[in-house]
Symmetry: C2
C-alpha cells in the first residue's frame, strides 16, 4: 500500500486550485513551480495549526518525488529558504501574531522531524529549532496567558473559553515530538533549555497551574529518558473525577 | 579494621555516663539494660538532628552484638516498641515540636535503612515510614515556612537566618536516602506519594522557591531511576555566581 495509492495528506483546508497544485507536486513535481509550492505550504502552515503539525510528511514526499524524477532539490531549497527567512523575522512574527509564531515553531519542528539526510535529521535545522524552543522558554513566554477559544463552538462571548499558555503548550508538544532527537544532536543546548524550564518555576510573575503541570510533566518525561512512566501517565493524562 | 577496633559512632553529644552505657552495649550487651539503651537512643534522636541521621548504624551494631552474644533481641524489640509508640503519637509530636517531628522521621528512615532481616529491609517499617513521608507531603507541611538559624553562628538576631521549609527538606533528604528501597517494597504507595508531591505545585497557598526547587529535584531524581543526571546535578547542586 504505497503512499501514492491513497490520499494521505490532509489538504482539505486548501482551496481547490491549490489542492490540485499539491497533488501534482506529489505525482509529477516537474510539472509545477516547486518554489511556489514551497511558499504555499509555508504560508498555509503559518495560519493553520492543524496543518502545521503534519506538513513535514508531505514536504518529505515532495522532496522524494522531485529527487526521484529529476534528481533535483528545488522544492527543498525553496522550503529551507522560506524557513530561514521566517526564522530571521521571528521576533516580528511573534509580536504581530502569537498564533502565527506558534504555528511557525510547530512547522519547523515538524520539518526537522520528517526531513532526513542519510536517515539523519538535518544538522542545519538543529540550531534554528533550538532557538525557537529557547524563545518559548523565556520568562515572558512562560508566564504569558492568552485567552483562546473557539467562537464556532461557544460564540464570541462563550463562557468556556479557557486560559491557555499557548507558547508553553507548544514548547512541551515539540519536546515530546523531537526532544529526544534534538538532544542526540546537541545535548548541551538541551541541558540549557531545561535550565530555563526549571527556572520557570521560580519566576516572580508566577506560572499558571496549567503551565506548571505542563512543564513538570516534560521535566519528568526527559528525566525518565524521554518516556512517560506509568505513574506519570496516570497523573498527567488520566481524567480526574471532580 | 573491625568496627570494634575504633570508635565509629558519634556519641560525643551524650553525657559521659551515657557514652559509657552505649560503649558497653556495643561490646558486652548482656551487661546493660538494653531496653533502657533503646530508650536513651530514641530520646536523644528526637532532640539531635545530627545523631538522628546516623543512629541506625549503631542500633544495627548493638542488635548484631546482642544476637551474637545471647541469641536474643531485647534491644531490637525495645527499639521497635518505642518507634511504634512515637509513631502513634506523631501528630501530637508534630504539633508540640516540628523539630522533634523532623528528627523522628529522620530517625525512623535511618533505622529502615540500616536494620536488615535476611538482608532485606524490615517489612514492618515500610508502612510507618510511608505514613511519615505522606505526612510531610501534606499541603500544610509543604507550604509551611519555619524560621531557623544557628544562634551560635549569627546570634539570636542574626541577619543570615534563612527561611527553610523544614519538612520539605526532610522529605527530600529521606527520599534520596531510602526512596528507591521503599519503592521496591511498595510501588503503589510511592506513586501516591509523588501524586501529593506534584500536587504541591498547584497549592493555592504556594510553595517557597526553595521548596519548589527541592520538590522539582526529587521528581527528576525519581524519574531518572533514583539517580541524579549530570545536567540535573549541575542545575541543583552547583554554586551559582551572584
Amino acid at each position: 500500500m504505497g503512499e501514492s495509492g491513497r490520499e494521505e495528506y490532509k489538504i482539505q483546508s486548501f482551496d481547490a486550485e491549490t489542492q490540485q497544485l499539491l497533488k501534482t507536486a506529489l505525482k509529477d513535481p516537474g510539472a509545477v513551480d516547486l518554489e511556489k509550492v514551497a511558499n504555499v505550504i509555508v504560508d498555509h502552515s503559518l495560519q493553520d495549526r492543524v496543518f502545521s503539525k503534519e506538513a513535514g510528511r508531505m514536504c518529505y514526499a515532495i522532496i522524494q518525488a522531485e529527487s526521484k524524477q529529476a534528481g533535483q532539490s528545488v522544492f527543498r531549497r525553496g522550503l529551507l529558504n522560506r524557513l530561514q527567512q521566517e526564522y530571521q523575522a521571528r521576533e516580528q512574527l511573534r509580536a504581530r501574531s502569537l498564533r502565527g509564531w506558534v504555528c511557525y515553531v510547530t512547522f519547523i519542528c515538524n520539518i526537522f522531524d520528517y526531513l532526513r539526510v542519510n536517515n539523519m535529521p538535518m544538522m542545519a535545522l538543529v540550531n534554528p529549532v533550538y532557538d525557537c524552543l529557547f524563545r518559548l522558554a523565556q520568562p515572558d513566554s512562560l508566564s504569558k496567558e492568552e485567552e483562546v477559544g473557539d467562537p464556532g463552538l461557544d460564540g464570541p462571548g462563550g463562557e468556556s473559553r479557557c486560559l491557555l499558555s499557548m507558547e508553553v503548550d507548544c514548547l512541551v508538544l515539540q519536546l515530546h515530538r523531537v526532544g529526544e532527537q534534538l538532544e542526540k544532536m546537541n545535548q548541551q543546548r538541551m541541558d540549557e533549555l531545561f535550565v530555563l524550564i526549571r527556572d520557570g518555576f521560580l519566576l516572580p510573575s508566577g506560572l499558571s497551574s496549567l503551565a506548571q503541570l505542563l512543564l513538570l510533566e516534560i521535566i519528568e518525561f526527559r528525566a525518565a529518558g524521554w518516556k512517560t512512566t506509568p505513574a506519570a501517565h496516570k497523573y498527567y493524562y488520566s481524567e480526574v473525577p471532580d
